[in-house]
């Protein structure tokens, strides 16, 4: 089915800006390590990758394993909130199942803040969007992150690998199908807020290289539009792009992600250092449905 470009979508052709700029990317991964009698084991790890003069430098922070129980979940959550970010206390602490993702996001914001404070005249790449107003991305704190970067003449570009945003019934990235790369698609009149959720960036669809991939790209709304586009053009000249995705950000993802070996290693560490025993719960889905239960397991 062909998708017609609505008149509100504007294609912005891009040129390579050969004045090389430093690029830095941040990503954080979290993973469930197992369950204990008392709660859940998880681990988080962050990675920062710098691109400087044809070389990539990385710093991995972690892994940090956590044993989250009903008794300590509030304390752990508080530790993340208060020590790193000025995030107001919510009415209630998330349940154990959600706290893993929450901790990952809070660590990510902390690393992003660190980079914003440290970098100057740099292209800062985030994994995800500039959507604010959720528990782990309050509007004030997100605005502060962007403001610090802005004041130090850095530009934050947030790449989302997948987006749920739709426009005129179609997924946002589907509009880039026939666009001539490198280019950005800008959607005029895209709603900037929805309830408590607020978009702090201008939303684009980025198709930076030939190929099937295009990504939602958020650029700080408070910087002039031209400066934002210039930053993307600088990224084209400063970093390697494969399938429209910046290599620096790809490496940050790779270095933060946990492999199966690492999960086993962390399980061993936890067992040896803290004597925690991982319990294996019966797989109800498999018990009930046998091989037909597999499909849904993937979503667990």
């Amino acid at each position: 089915m062909k998708i017609q470009h609505p008149s509100t979508i504007k294609t912005i052709p891009l040129e390579h800006n050969l004045d090389e700029k430093p690029v830095v990317a941040v990503d954080v991964s979290s993973i469930k390590i197992g369950e204990t009698e008392a709660g859940m084991l998880c681990a988080i790890r962050g990675a920062i990758v710098w691109k400087e003069k044809n070389r990539y430098k990385y710093q991995r922070i972690g892994p940090f394993p956590f044993h989250i129980t009903e008794q300590n979940k509030k304390e752990i959550h508080k530790l993340f909130r208060n020590n790193n970010l000025e995030i107001a206390e919510e009415g209630r602490t998330p349940n154990i199942a959600n706290i893993q993702a929450r901790m990952g996001n809070l660590l990510e914001r902390w690393l992003q803040l660190g980079i914003s404070c440290q970098a100057y005249g740099t292209i800062i790449l985030w994994d995800g969007s500039m959507t604010a107003g959720m528990a782990d991305s309050p509007v004030d704190e997100m605005s502060r992150l962007l403001e610090v970067a802005r004041n130090r003449l850095s530009t934050v570009l947030a790449f989302s690998k997948s987006t749920t945003l739709r426009f005129s019934g179609h997924k946002l990235t589907d509009y880039a199908g026939k666009a001539e790369p490198p280019c950005l698609l800008h959607i005029n009149g895209f709603p900037l807020d929805s309830g408590p959720v607020l978009l702090l960036g201008n939303v684009y669809v980025a198709k930076l290289t030939p190929g099937v991939c295009s990504f939602r790209l958020d650029i700080d709304r408070k910087i002039p539009r031209e400066r934002g586009i210039e930053a993307v053009q600088s990224l084209l000249g400063s970093d390697l792009l494969i399938q429209s995705y910046p290599e620096t950000l790809r490496l940050a993802h790779i270095y933060s992600t946990f492999t199966a070996t690492e999960v086993i290693g962390i399980q061993r560490f936890i067992a040896q250092q803290y004597g925690l025993k991982i319990v294996t719960r019966p797989n109800v889905r498999r018990l009930l449905f046998g091989p037909f239960g597999k499909g849904a397991e993937g979503y667990q």
């Binding site: 990758v49 070389r55 990539y56 430098k57 990385y58 710093q59 991995r60 922070i61 972690g62 892994p63 940090f64 394993p65 490496l251 790779i254 270095y255 492999t259 199966a260 070996t261 690492e262 999960v263 086993i264 290693g265 962390i266 061993r268 560490f269 040896q272 250092q273």
Partner: protein, 482 residues
């Protein structure tokens, strides 16, 4: 170490680098609940198939020039991750079980995976459990755990053994060690020395005599090892003519008549034999055939009419009767035909003397026997001659020259390094051990290390570093760029 899997008599054990287990080591899998132990030998060490390892390696494979960095890991979790990456899977063969400290070959029992403890067991303590004949030890060298390994002279007595391995790995050295080990216990050893390697057995490394000087007798055919026809048995002579010199049947019959006639006349010189063939009233072709064999005998230089200088075979063994000794038949520089003449004479007389109970049992060490032993002798040696008291040890670097049935009957095999799959395939036909063990362990044996298989080690294969000997090394290759 943890028990992971069992398939047939193969056990897979998960281990980590700090367990320090290598190929050839013995492990004891102990199930305390049932007071039973499983004895296994590690035949291969592989990396454990850990999920996600490929991703891990790909991530770390980028060169420092392109990507560099550091890890902030305050808890030290990465050491545990590295530990998992280095996890090993030990492929082990079950060698037996122990029930109440008594060894059984039965391996049908399966220990508990969750409760069993696994420990390394030194080979000597394993041997202590095995018991057996303690007397007449021959020190072969050291096992992997640096403890001395002894076999006993009984393990060679009445047995068929094979020493094999590729060139330069130390086969002849071990063979010499066994020869001297037997001589220590006053045994008589006959060495068929193809390259003159054993002629220095009686000399120390520095060149002077050693403790074996008086008991090592080097016999060089044509020099100090010559025989006279008068002391020759017709049967032995016929073996030489038929097997070494390929004399046809009709001519053989004629030769018998000539020999009998000379016996009656009491004439037994080479000259007399030549005259008798010349005067023989037989077919011209037969005479020609006899003459050609006669000249082969004369030209070999092995036969003499001088009774003084001739060697009496029975007398040779008198030298070794009291204190034992090694009779080294130096076949270096002896042509292929002459070699066969000497061998037919030697083996023919040996069997005769053994059959008449005139001498005690003899240990025979034959290097590259395929070069001088005729086809029919192989089976004769391992079956018939064994009962007469001739116990053979074959030494070869070409295992495929020894027939499969000989491997199957071998009591012990001293296996040195082989890299060639085909060679290993041949040796693995030995009935005393599984093919996987042979192939896996022998391929990585360093020089002067051998894998002992079979009766000498009570069917528990063991890797051993062969000890040095204070003897003069002979038979080195003459080099161009020396």
């Amino acid at each position: 170490m943890r028990l992971y899997k069992k398939e047939g008599n193969t056990l897979q054990i998960l281990s980590f680098p700090d367990d320090e287990v290598e190929k050839g080591d013995y492990l004891l899998v102990e199930d305390a609940n049932v007071n039973r132990k499983l004895i296994t030998q590690v035949i291969d060490v592989q990396f454990a198939s850990v999920p996600g390892l490929l991703e891990e390696l790909l991530r770390d494979s980028t060169t420092e020039e392109q990507i560099y960095g550091e890890n902030f890991d305050p808890l030290g979790v990465s050491s545990h991750i590295n530990h998992i990456q280095d996890a090993r899977m030990l492929i082990c063969k079950i060698r037996g079980t122990m029930l109440n400290d008594r060894l059984r070959v039965n391996s049908s029992w399966l220990p508990s995976r969750s409760k069993s403890g696994i420990t390394k067991i030194p080979f000597n303590s394993l041997l202590a459990h095995l018991g057996g004949n303690e007397g007449l030890p021959i020190n072969i060298g050291e096992t992997k755990d640096d403890s001395p390994l002894n076999i006993t002279a009984h393990d060679l007595d009445g047995r068929l053994n094979i020493i094999t391995g590729k060139k330069g790995t130390g086969k002849s050295h071990l063979s010499k060690l066994l020869v001297l080990g037997l001589v220590d216990y006053k045994a008589t050893v006959v060495v068929l020395d193809l390259n003159g390697e054993y002629t220095g057995l009686g000399l120390s490394a520095k060149g002077g005599g050693n403790e074996y000087s008086d008991r090592v007798h080097v016999l060089t055919p044509g020099a100090n090892f010559r025989v006279s026809l008068s002391k020759m048995d017709l049967g032995v002579m016929l073996k030489i003519l038929v097997h070494a010199l390929a004399l046809p049947g009709t001519s053989t019959r004629e030769f018998k008549h000539i020999w009998k006639s000379l016996t009656q006349q009491g004439k037994f010189t080479l000259q007399d034999l030549g005259d008798a063939i010349r005067k023989c009233a037989c077919n011209m072709h037969v005479r020609d055939a006899l003459f050609s064999r006669y000249y082969s005998l004369v030209n070999s230089g092995f036969f003499t009419d001088d009774e003084e200088s001739a060697t009496g075979f029975e007398k040779l063994f008198e030298k070794t009767k009291k204190d034992g000794g090694a009779l080294v038949i130096n076949l270096k520089d002896v042509s292929a035909v002459d070699r066969q003449i000497v061998l037919e004479y030697t083996l023919g007389n040996l069997v005769k003397l053994l059959g008449q109970w005139k001498i005690k049992s003899v240990f025979l060490f034959a290097e590259e026997a395929h070069l001088y032993l005729r086809e029919t002798y192989w089976e004769d040696i391992v079956t018939r001659m064994r009962h007469f008291g001739l116990f053979t040890n074959f030494v070869t670097n070409q295992p495929d020259t020894i027939k499969e049935n000989i491997y199957r009957q071998a009591d012990s095999i001293f296996l040195f390094n082989f890299t060639n799959e085909r060679d290993l395939e041949t040796v693995s036909k030995a009935a005393r051990v599984d093919a996987e063990t042979v192939k896996s362990l022998a391929q990585e044996l360093p020089p002067h290390h051998c894998l002992l298989i079979g009766n000498a080690v009570k069917d528990f294969p063991v890797m051993v570093k062969v000890r040095a000997l204070d003897i003069k090394t002979m038979g080195q290759t003459r080099l161009f760029f020396a």
